[in-house]
């Protein structure tokens, strides 16, 4: 059985597209909408820039959850990037699920530049899900451990 780490705080990586979701995150900030500091955002030009490799790397390095945010379907700045992302992530997430990384640890959400509220709500609910799932050990590369 896994030993419960008292000091454990989830580590969450959020990939946000520059045009919609990153701007949505900015709006959440401007509106002072709280969400946990466990979420760290990486800016990408488009959700279709998110290489499955990045997500694997995050889990390998000890992330407990990864969320990809893009423009709403049909609103992609690059016309169709979010559709590519959706398809790729569907495949990747089911593979990760097969490897033991529960579906709840991965998520794709569409957040527009106007949806600061939605961004904060999404992050709050995602952190809640990850907290209830607990620490992710499945793909962690022990060689990456610093301690």
């Amino acid at each position: 059985m896994q030993v419960k780490n008292e000091n454990w705080k989830p580590l969450i990586v959020a990939f946000c597209c520059n045009w919609c979701s990153y701007a949505g995150a900015d709006l959440a900030g401007t509106n002072r909408l709280n969400y946990p500091a466990d979420v760290k955002i990486i800016r990408v030009p488009c959700s279709c820039r998110v290489n499955p490799m990045f997500i694997l790397r995050a889990f390998q390095r000890g992330a407990d959850g990864v969320i990809v945010c893009g423009c709403h379907p049909g609103d992609c700045h690059y016309t169709s990037g979010n559709y590519y992302a959706r398809r790729r992530m569907t495949l990747l997430f089911s593979m990760l699920d097969y490897l033991g990384i529960e579906k709840g640890r991965t998520r794709v959400e569409w957040v527009s530049a106007a949806e600061g509220q939605k961004f904060a709500e999404t992050m709050n609910s995602f952190v809640e899900t990850i907290t209830s799932l607990g620490e992710n050990k499945r793909l962690e590369d022990l060689r990456c451990k610093t301690e």
């Binding site: 990586v13 760290k40 290489n51 169709s80």
Partner: protein, 664 residues
């Protein structure tokens, strides 16, 4: 190894109120590669920028990390500052510690910790940054307008007025488009020809405009500023440069039984014809499907009567290759075929007509000379039923109709009803409607006039069946407000057929790599903020090809489109976004997957010679990104199976470094 400077901004108390900026600057100062780290009250202020500039010079910095507000706010400010002291602007990265940290967290310890992590991620990224230089490409100062309807004409005129050359390519023998077929225009009821034909003449006389009528676009190559287009000039069998448009041939041609498409088959023309009196260019065209000479080699009447020897039965299609800086799509629309709606008996009775046909029947230059006569027996109709929304507003899965509102039918039906009542007050006019949609200046007033002044019967309901019997059209319809079924013995039924994009638009979109929606309307770059540009750089949209529009809207959009084209052509060089994809030729396996996902057609493949390790040469197929076309979305980088594709500014290694820095 980079020499990195870290600059932590307080943003007054916006950041410093929640984040221990001193601690952040201190901690990040110990990161590898960081040679200087400091904090300041307002980094974006002039003195803050000076601090950054001075430090770049003093410490010989090769990279800069600013911990401040969102990069969407001040990334450009700091890039410019760096550039002004000789540091490549793309060596600057921003860690967003305001919107993502201080404004959303209350606890100073947590916030400071997160700020440090975000700073580390930015430092890790800067380590892998490389100086980027935006490419420049020259601009061919000529525009191509595809489609010579009112949209294309207006766009061409506006561009030409600004001093740029414009070519109009029109597939039919004359420019003018659908507007030339229309009788009167709503809501002012001025005659369409009176306002359109002067524009057509102006287009033909404008020095900067060159009209390729009876021509089609065969091939498009190149990218914004540098398109090369092959135009097929279809054989007219008449030498355009010689023909004076006298029309003698069209009177003498013995083949009289050719359905006249300009009158939608309501009258006949000859095998050699000029579509209408004001055609531009006013040149005769031989229809090879009906010309006896071309079919059997016996006739030659037109050639005999032609005083200027313009007839040439041996003429072939000709291909012209031209270079353009911008392409305008103005392919327009056509009404749908109503053959899937035979409950209205269109195929069974000539007295059931579409609205465009009715337009011709009302037109003074039309088949009846402007007298309204029903086609079957050429008598004056006394009861006319108009049916709205034929094929518009259907279920998305409908195989018969379109899911959208065609927008113009409510208004032109009101116009038809009004004009009919005005000319023939003894005619009863019924309009069956679902909703009357009249948003537009003076539009609802116009519709109300039809009802209140002209006594048109507007019935909320729909026609369910038309039965031709004994010379009448028995119309069975619902009247929802009176909750009854109406049975009207009509003399004519007019169907307001939905509109759809012209059939030529789909293959054209493929050639241009411009995207279309499921209804074959061109997609705009942004539905609100970039409505006249296609997402493909250098391709612009004018008129109905983008969505249903009336004439005033079409003309405004056409002019807006021209403004965008002029804005492009006026530049001598285009400066690109350097954050574009690039392919490592040594790793590329030539699979074409990147080409398939690229929404812009920026990727092409070429055969290239490579020196192999054993000193032989081999030819391999490799991807090449055109940086002028690439918009930097990165779709190709993920799809590339060999990892050859990467994106400047957001490279695999850079993002990976950020992930590593965050997950420590």
């Amino acid at each position: 190894m980079q020499r990195i400077g870290v600059f932590v901004c307080w943003c007054g108390s916006n950041i410093a109120g929640t984040v221990d900026v001193k601690k952040v600057a201190e901690t990040l100062g110990h990161e590898p590669g960081v040679v200087f780290s400091t904090d300041y009250q307002y980094m974006c202020s002039q003195s803050g920028q000076d601090l950054v500039k001075d430090s770049i010079r003093t410490y010989n910095l090769t990279g800069v990390v600013i911990c401040s507000c969102s990069p969407r706010m001040h990334e450009n400010t700091f890039r410019k500052a760096a550039a002004s002291v000789g540091l490549n602007p793309y060596m600057v990265e921003i860690a967003n510690i305001r919107e993502q940290v201080s404004w959303i967290h209350k606890d100073m310890e947590t916030a400071t910790e997160k700020a440090i992590i975000l700073g580390r991620a930015a430092i890790a990224k800067v380590h892998l940054n490389a100086p980027l230089i935006a490419g420049e490409t020259p601009v061919t100062k000529r525009a191509l307008v595809i489609g010579g309807g009112i949209a294309g004409i207006q766009t061409a005129l506006d561009i030409a007025e600004a001093g740029f050359e414009v070519d109009i390519v029109e597939k039919s023998p004359t420019i003018g488009g659908k507007m030339a077929q229309i009788d009167k225009t709503f809501p002012t009821l001025d005659c369409a020809a009176c306002i359109l034909t002067p524009k057509m003449v102006e287009a033909s006389q404008q020095e900067n405009i060159n009209i390729y009528a009876f021509s089609e676009v065969d091939e498009v190559k190149g990218f914004v500023g540098n398109f090369t287009v092959k135009i097929r000039r279809k054989a007219r069998y008449v030498k355009e440069e010689l023909c004076t448009g006298c029309g003698l041939c069209t009177e003498k041609c013995p083949q009289k039984k050719v359905p006249d498409e300009f009158n939608l088959g309501l009258s006949n023309r000859r095998a050699i014809y000029i579509p209408f009196a004001q055609a531009v260019p006013k040149v005769a065209t031989i229809d090879p499907n009906y010309c006896t000479m071309l079919k059997t080699g016996k006739c030659g009447v037109c050639s005999k009567v032609c005083g200027v020897k313009a007839i040439d039965y041996t003429q072939k299609d000709e291909i012209v290759e031209r270079k353009y800086g911008a392409i305008v799509v103005a392919t327009g629309f056509e009404p749908i075929k109503v053959d899937k709606f035979e409950e209205f008996a269109y195929a069974q009775s000539p007295d059931v007509v579409t609205s465009l046909e009715y337009e011709r029947l009302m037109n003074a230059a039309g088949p009846t000379g402007g007298t309204l006569l029903r086609p079957s027996d050429k008598t004056h109709p006394h009861t006319i039923v108009f049916v709205q929304c034929v094929g518009s507003r259907c279920d998305e899965k409908s195989e018969k109709g379109k899911p959208y509102c065609s927008k113009v039918c409510c208004m032109y039906t009101a116009k038809h009803a009004m004009l009919t009542r005005e000319k023939y007050p003894d005619t009863e006019v019924y309009v069956f409607y679902i909703d009357v949609r009249t948003p537009g200046k003076n539009f609802d007033e116009f519709y109300r006039r039809a009802v209140e002044h002209y006594g048109v019967h507007y019935v909320k309901g729909m026609v369910g069946k038309v039965t031709p019997e004994n010379g009448k059209l028995k119309v069975q319809a619902s009247d929802l407000l009176d909750n009854r079924q109406l049975h009207i013995d009509a003399d004519m039924v007019v169907l307001a057929a939905a509109i759809e994009p012209d059939k030529s638009a789909r293959p054209l979109a493929t050639m241009l790599t411009a995207s279309m929606d499921t209804n074959d309307f061109f997609t705009e770059a942004h539905p609100k903020l970039r409505p006249v540009e296609s997402p493909t750089a250098g391709v612009f949209l004018s008129g109905m090809c983008q969505g249903p529009k009336d004439i005033p809207e079409t003309v405004s959009q056409a002019s807006a489109c021209a403004a965008k084209v002029i804005g492009l052509l006026v530049k001598d060089k285009l400066v690109g976004n350097p954050c574009v994809a690039h392919s490592d030729e040594m790793m590329c396996n030539g699979c074409s997957q990147c080409q398939n996902v690229c929404p812009y057609g920026a990727i092409t493949y070429t055969e290239k010679e490579f020196r192999m390790p054993d000193r032989t040469t081999a030819v391999r197929r490799v991807a090449q990104v055109n940086p002028a076309v690439c918009q930097g979305c990165g779709a190709c980088t993920v799809t590339c199976p060999s990892g050859a594709m990467d994106l400047f500014g957001f490279s695999n290694n850079q993002i990976m470094a950020e992930v590593d820095a965050i997950c420590k």
